[in-house]
Symmetry: C2
Subunit: 207 residues, 2 copies
């Protein structure tokens, strides 16, 4: 990796930002943090949109004077060439498979429901949110079921050591109870969550 300064543009409450902090902790890599309040439009200001991310989202990984949006792209940038990305070509792509699964089938359901429940509050939901909550709950359960089936007899999602696929999916799985998902229904997922928290170098979300 380059010697340029790494700055994480983040909101500490976001699981997508936590992924990157968790990987950086495992890597022991120094970085700066810049905080934004996503609940009050902190990532929709003219300055943020023009300088950091025109898509108005965090996290963004700043590398020198270049900006990299998308949490899982940041994981890849930081982890490539380390033990957190597999050496085998198929396994490397399989890591990305789980990371795309996370952003398509897992995060839009489990993270969004957590956000609505914890930060917006069910009493403030719009009619659309009320309608969507049911399908997001079903789709989130389907995603957890896919993980549970895969993790039966496996310690990690890909290969036999911790990769960025585990880190990406850990972020919103380990707090899925806050979105009213019952991890007890997914025993292999629960064992995997518990084991990841015991990895040397692990840091909790609140760190």
């Amino acid at each position: 990796m380059s010697n340029e300064t790494i700055v994480l543009h983040e909101d500490t409450r976001s699981g997508n930002c936590y992924k990157i902090r968790l990987l950086l902790a495992h890597l022991g890599f120094p970085y700066e943090r810049r905080q934004y309040d996503i609940l009050n439009g902190g990532t929709r200001t003219p300055e943020f949109l023009s300088e950091v991310n025109s898509n108005g989202r965090i996290p963004v990984l700043q590398v020198g004077d270049r900006y990299l949006p998308e949490s899982n792209a940041a994981l890849w940038y930081l982890a490539e060439g380390t033990r957190f990305v597999p050496e085998d070509r198929f396994d490397r792509a399989d890591c990305l498979r789980w990371m795309f699964f996370e952003q398509y089938s897992h995060e839009p359901n489990i993270a969004t429901l957590k956000f609505w429940k914890v930060f917006i509050g069910q009493e403030n939901w719009t009619d659309t949110q009320r309608i969507l909550a049911t399908s997001k709950k079903d789709a989130g359960d389907a995603a957890l079921a896919v993980m549970n089936e895969h993790l039966e007899g496996r310690q990690y999602l890909v290969g036999d050591s911790l990769t960025i696929a585990d880190i990406a999916l850990y972020a919103y799985t380990h707090t899925a109870d806050q979105a009213d998902f019952d991890l007890k229904a997914y025993p292999y997922v629960m064992a995997w969550v518990d084991a990841i928290a015991l990895e040397a170098g692990h840091v909790p979300m609140e760190a």
Copy 2:
């Protein structure tokens, strides 16, 4: 890449499957194709779920006896080490940034609306689909605006040649009119779409 046989499990009508055919055409790489009818539960059969993809989706890239779901993971597997993935570390991650953007901010809006309009038919929509269509149209337009701003003064999304980021986003952008998006409002996107179709090795979606 290995010498194992490549099989694409697909539905020809899916833009996510087309991405892979387009890349394989550029690579001139031989492969087999296996068709499923997504409109009639072809990817939800017990055989498909147990052998090909427990998440019930196509495309899946089969490499020998291993199965790789997620269209953009398949692009990475096939393109790594070729001219369709940049050599620079930051640019490589930036390619993934646009591919995660595609699966999070673009495809769930533009591809889903196309599917609902072309394959389900507006007269058959549920109340939920009717409510969601408006927010998906707005979010799809926001995604096209992000691309348009980025493509001003650029020929490609990343670097100065065609990469899998372009291939991933081309798939559903070039048919966005079928989802009632007006590409004339995004002139840099329109120029980029036109230019990609003129690249040597290009094949249309219907091929």
